[in-house]
């Protein structure tokens, strides 16, 4: 909130540190008159709306196919590894795959006889279609996972049997019964996807259009500019972006309500089947396309990281070398070390706070039986660029230069919502008879918590830790703004070198960004299995 406040003041030209001591609308005029503003606005709106809408559509279709129509464990097995690939690394690998000189076009070139990269725009296109596609591919698995977390609250099997006994087809029963309940239950994750798609900076910098870029990137460029007066314009842009996110959340809420009303209206007509049912069941197989791309992403990064020479007409590299690993070694170790330290500390801090908060609301000391969900989701709903910029200004006013502390705080802020998603139902559903049994044996609260409850929940805590750790590792803007560009992690290094560096170096950094959380996920899943 302080961060937002400190963004609002400069947005109205009040910025004492830069000698702007009177309120005015000049920053807003500058923003609206900027030659790139309206183009950036249009790109942002189209990217945010299309990527969120298609992510919702695909996630429902895939959920219908593999959870409702033909339940299989296939989804459970592939979702976590797919989600473990960070957005930025995915975007980089997407370029290595699909750019005119990318791997897939090299393979196509073999068949159509291209000898030089074709003159077509496949990435960084001016309509931001490649950015939209990357966002769809990354957000669809996230929404499916969020739907799956709702399964304990919705009796899928019984609902299906009841509706089938009433004569409804599978798809009709899914649309009439499951869809409205799911839509309502995953409302906040949908808003988080929407806010992310409208405001994302690192992915848009990598694969989005450059001239003009999206609004988030444009604001980020003004914040990073050596001309400090542009910060006023950046602040008004950040507030504008916030208002845009709020407007879109309202729009999606209205659309959701209209959708539910329409479904209820249609369901009252008791139509037992819906057109194109088999088409929707088949469309669910789109998950194989996302899975294939996720595998190709890893493969292309591995290939490029050990490539010495790779001509356009060759399907595989001509020669291999570890030279670029050796050359990058020093920077790589520094980035990995910092990322590891920030992730460890911020996740442990987040875990302590979240366990404390969940314990508090589940105790008798409060009448509130749940943490306000919207508050927990707030860091995911607000544009990072809006409140991190303000928080940076805030720290500047108070002459606070403990960058490490600020980075850890900012990382914890983004880690906590994911810890909340992972741990909420686990804590709520914990069988209280175990703690009562411990109290009856004359053990106090802390002994019961540390020797009974937490050890019993350690499997879920390991999983939550791995998730929190991976969220921290991929933070770009929080590290950049709080560290004022002086402290680097693997993510900031990778994003900064994405435009213009050697493919081989970029691939190495992207691969390491994937590997660090992946190792933690593997360790956590082993620990969870042992638990």
């Amino acid at each position: 909130m302080f961060g937002l406040l400190a963004t609002v003041l400069p947005a109205f030209s009040y910025f004492p540190a830069l000698n702007f001591n009177t309120f005015s609308f000049n920053a807003w005029f500058d923003l609206l008159q900027h030659p790139s503003f309206f183009s950036a606005f249009k790109l942002t709106v189209s990217t945010g709306f299309l990527s969120t809408s298609f992510s919702i559509l695909f996630s429902f279709i895939i959920f219908y196919r593999y959870v409702y129509f033909k339940p299989s464990r296939f989804l459970n097995k592939i979702l976590t590894p797919m989600l473990a690939i960070p957005h930025a690394a995915f975007a980089i690998a997407f370029i290595l795959l699909l750019s005119p000189s990318g791997w897939l076009l090299k393979i196509i070139g073999q068949f159509v006889g291209w000898v030089i990269p074709p003159n077509i725009v496949t990435v960084n296109d001016s309509y931001a279609l490649s950015l939209t596609l990357v966002l769809i591919l990354k957000e669809t698995p996230f929404l499916i996972l969020m739907m799956m977390t709702q399964l304990p609250n919705i009796p899928v099997k019984s609902n299906r049997l009841i509706t089938q006994s009433l004569g409804y087809s599978d798809f009709a029963s899914f649309v009439y019964i499951m869809l409205p309940q799911l839509l309502k239950n995953i409302r906040l994750p949908i808003y988080a996807v929407l806010a992310f798609s409208l405001t994302v900076v690192d992915v848009a910098q990598i694969i989005g259009p450059n001239a003009p870029p999206t609004l988030g990137v444009l604001i980020h460029q003004w914040i990073s500019n050596s001309d400090f007066t542009l910060r006023l314009q950046a602040a008004s842009g950040a507030i504008f972006l916030l208002l845009l996110v709020v407007s879109f959340i309202v729009l999606f809420y209205v659309l959701e309500q209209c959708c539910i009303k329409l479904i209820l209206l249609k369901s009252s007509a008791s139509k037992r089947s819906i057109m194109f049912e088999s088409v929707f069941a088949q469309l669910g197989k789109i998950i194989y396309f996302i899975l294939l791309l996720s595998i190709l992403v890893i493969v292309v990064l591995i290939l490029w990281s050990v490539t010495f020479r790779w001509g356009f007409t060759d399907i595989l590299p001509n020669s291999f070398s570890l030279k670029f690993w050796q050359k990058s070694q020093e920077a790589l170790l520094l980035g990995l070390k910092n990322a590891f330290i920030f992730a460890m500390i911020s996740t442990v801090l987040g875990l302590v706070l979240m366990v404390g908060a969940l314990e508090f609301v589940n105790s008798k000391k409060t009448n509130r039986k749940y943490l306000p969900k919207t508050l927990m989701y707030l860091p995911l709903l607000l544009p990072q660029v809006s409140f991190l910029f303000g928080f940076n200004v805030f720290l500047l006013w108070f002459d606070f230069h403990y960058d490490w502390v600020a980075i850890i705080w900012a990382h914890s802020l983004f880690v906590m919502p994911y810890l909340y998603i992972s741990l909420k139902s686990v804590f709520e559903k914990f069988d209280k008879r175990y703690t009562l049994q411990s109290y009856a044996l004359n053990r106090g609260y802390f002994k019961t918590l540390f020797f009974i409850k937490l050890p019993m929940l350690k499997g879920s805590i390991y999983t939550a830790f791995a998730l929190g750790f991976s969220v921290s590792v991929v933070q770009y803007l929080p590290t950049l703004y709080m560290g004022e560009g002086r402290i680097e992690t693997i993510t900031t290094q990778m994003v900064n070198m994405a435009s213009g560096s050697d493919y081989r170096r970029i691939a190495i950094f992207a691969l390491c960004q994937i590997l660090l959380p992946l190792i933690i996920f593997i360790v956590a899943s082993r620990k969870t299995r042992d638990a």
Partner: protein, 212 residues
Amino acid sequence: MLEFKEFQLFINEVAIFEPISMTISNEIVSIMGPSGCGKSSLFMAVLGGLNEEFSYQGDIEINGESIMQRSTAQRHIGMMMQDDLLFPHMNVMQNLLFACPEKMKKIEKLDLINRYLIKTDMYEFKDSKVQSLSGGQKSRISALRAVLCQPEIVLLDEPFAKLDQSLKQKFRPWLFDLLLEKNIPVLMVTHDLNDCHQSAFYDLVKGEFSAR
């Protein structure tokens, strides 16, 4: 008419119960047995909701036609389980409209539902959210939903299990009257002797009818 012809269920090729042969005409027949004897599996077999690890011998027919190759949606069965399973995003009226046959006109549906609601003292709750209903009220709506779809048979799986004693005593005769009025076969799975409608029940362990 619901007919079991030497019907036997197997799980991983192990028989769950002895072959059943019985005919249920327009009456309420209770199937009893201890936990794990296969009551719920038999219920699922009639409904068409068995998992892949089950196999069967014999046949089940409704009105002289085998239903084993039909999907659940094609079997025309009304069902009621111990959990009311009313759809939480729909109000009472919407839940009942959802159950009505597709071919009925809207005005006919509303007329039929309103008559049922008045008859069951539930008319004033027609626009209520299902979450706001009491346990007994939910059971009544769930029972209405089972008969509104104009089924050829009705299946009941422990329909009174979640009701307290006094509510059970009120709801049981109410439900039996409602079902008998429809003149269709009703198969009820239960483990409580008091729930049986007739003086005899089918004992799944012994494979024969026993007296209460």
